[in-house]
């Protein structure tokens, strides 16, 4: 059965772990994100339109655009959903690895990646997924690379929150303040076959540019290199620290303070922030286009 974008937006949760975890980041990006749920509500908020017939017309055009596979919106949704569910599996693997270190299940260490390496790949693949999803949703706006980078850098609302969550939950918490150089070093030393084994990568592999795993790895590395500066600036400008994040999250995840690898894995499994904010971004962009085209 076909995906119904209006149902997806209507069914976005207003509470639960994902929303609570995202709200802990509000202090770093104050006022940027409100948890916008409901299809008509999103139309009214984004366009400031109140006329019900106009809202209906905007909704119908947005749905038509979404349902046309050649428009790329469905692929973007697939990416946001897949990278979350694949990284959830990674979280399970990370937990298994932790158990492996603590208990007699030592052999698990040999078949599951070390948490740090797993988190490194997870962070890199999620970042690349964002770039690819951005292109599916927005095309390549502008006439030059500078225009494109300006569009990519002009993140706001739920897109900025997604990036804040990526940097915090998949970067700073599991890898520390120097997460970006750590991750870049790791992917530069990684072989294509190692990437192929990674579940997060395998979840979205077909959408990452590059003719084979080697080509895809080099695309991932280049994307990471070009956004590293942005991520580092974001962390220092916003004053994001591992300690500060853990303090905030400890509020609803008891006992997480001293077990950072558990916390990272727990966030992986339980917090679907890519899917949640991805659906919100998709709805916003569809609606913006629909209201302009009518």
């Amino acid at each position: 059965m076909s995906v119904k974008i209006y149902e997806k937006v209507d069914k976005l949760p207003t509470g639960g772990l994902t929303v609570r975890a995202l709200k802990t980041l509000d202090t770093f990006v104050p006022g940027q994100w409100e948890n916008l749920v409901g299809f008509d509500n999103t139309i009214k908020t984004v366009t400031r339109e109140t006329d019900e017939a106009m809202v209906q017309a905007i909704g119908e055009r947005a749905i038509t655009l979404f349902n046309d596979k050649s428009e790329g919106y469905r692929r973007a949704l697939w990416l946001y959903e897949s990278v979350d569910s694949a990284s959830g599996l990674l979280g399970t693997a990370a937990i298994a690895n932790r158990i492996g270190q603590d208990t007699f299940l030592g052999f698990l260490k040999n078949i599951t990646p070390k948490p740090e390496k797993a988190q490194t790949i997870d962070l890199s693949v999620k970042l690349v997924t964002e770039v690819v999803a951005f292109c599916h949703i927005n095309g390549i706006p502008g006439d030059s690379l500078g225009d494109f980078l300006a569009a990519l850098g002009d993140y706001g609302s739920e897109s900025l929150m997604r990036m804040a969550a990526l940097v915090s939950f998949d970067g700073v918490i599991p890898l520390g303040a120097d997460f970006s150089s750590k991750a870049l070093k790791a992917i530069k030393n990684m072989g294509a076959d190692e990437l192929e084994k990674n579940k997060t990568f395998r979840g979205v592999r077909k959408e990452i540019p590059g003719k084979d795993a080697k080509g895809k790895l080099s695309f991932i590395t280049e994307s990471f290199e070009s956004t590293q500066g942005w991520m580092d600036r974001f962390v220092s400008d916003k004053g994001i620290t591992q300690h500060g994040l853990v303090d905030k999250l400890a509020g609803f995840m008891e006992g997480s303070k001293s077990k950072l690898d558990y916390l990272g894995a727990f966030l992986d499994v339980s917090v679907k922030y890519y899917e949640h904010t991805g659906v919100q971004t998709l709805a916003r962009r569809l609606i913006e286009r629909a209201v302009a085209e009518l």
Partner: protein, 215 residues
């Protein structure tokens, strides 16, 4: 493998439960009809093949000036969008789209009472103002901030290179093909008995079909 008799007896009951749950889980929506019409193998394309590339429109957008920044936002087939920003705040969206895929969008300009630089001008609701170039290319400014008024929208509409855009051919072969196809579709629809196609009431008719001259 054989199914135990008790399980076989339970099957009809399970089936009823399943159907009940499935039926209840998806409440009807006012968007179900459009969903049905736009999915499946015979669904019409959202954007006509002959629509101009979004990138063609980039050259006609206003440039950043002073404290106002014009930032590229979306570029898809038949559509380009920029954000107008000041101090990080989005004041408005600036867009150009090809109405080849949405004839109703162009039709609303037929009865426009006002013009801007010679192009028909329409105010849509309280947050958008648009004009139509060459009967095909729609240029719009949509407010995203309370302080960005109707007169601001007019000011920024004038900053587009409208003359340049009017040099973009509208009556292309693809355009004529789509016009012909739409005319044939309309003639076919007119022949159908009225009960076959529910006619929208004036209240539910899409406002895009109703010309709204600028005030």
């Amino acid at each position: 493998m054989t199914t135990p008799r008790w399980l076989r007896r339970l099957f009809p009951l399970l089936l009823v439960c399943l159907l009940t749950v499935t039926a209840c889980s998806s409440a009807p929506s006012k968007y179900d009809q459009v969903q049905q019409e736009t999915t499946g193998s015979n669904a019409p394309a959202a954007v006509e093949k002959g629509a101009q590339k979004g990138g063609t429109f980039n050259q006609f957008f206003p440039a950043s000036e002073g404290e106002f920044k014009v930032v590229p936002s979306q570029e898809k087939q038949g559509f380009a969008e920029y954000k107008l920003k000041r101090d990080g705040e989005t004041l408005a969206m600036l867009t150009i789209n090809d109405t080849i895929s949405l004839p109703a969008a162009a039709k609303k300009y037929e009865t426009a009472a006002d013009t801007l630089s010679g192009f028909p001008l329409v105010e849509q609701g309280s947050t958008a103002t648009g004009l139509l170039v060459n009967g095909r290319y729609q240029v719009k400014v949509l407010s995203r901030s309370d302080g960005f008024t109707g007169s601001d929208r007019l000011t920024w509409l004038e900053k587009f290179d409208l003359e340049g855009l009017s040099g973009l051919e509208a009556n292309t072969r693809a355009y004529r093909r789509v016009q012909k196809k739409n005319a044939a579709k309309a003639a076919k629809a007119a022949k159908q008995p009225k009960t076959a196609i529910p006619q929208p009431t004036p209240e539910s008719a899409p406002p895009s079909l109703v010309p709204q001259p600028a005030g």
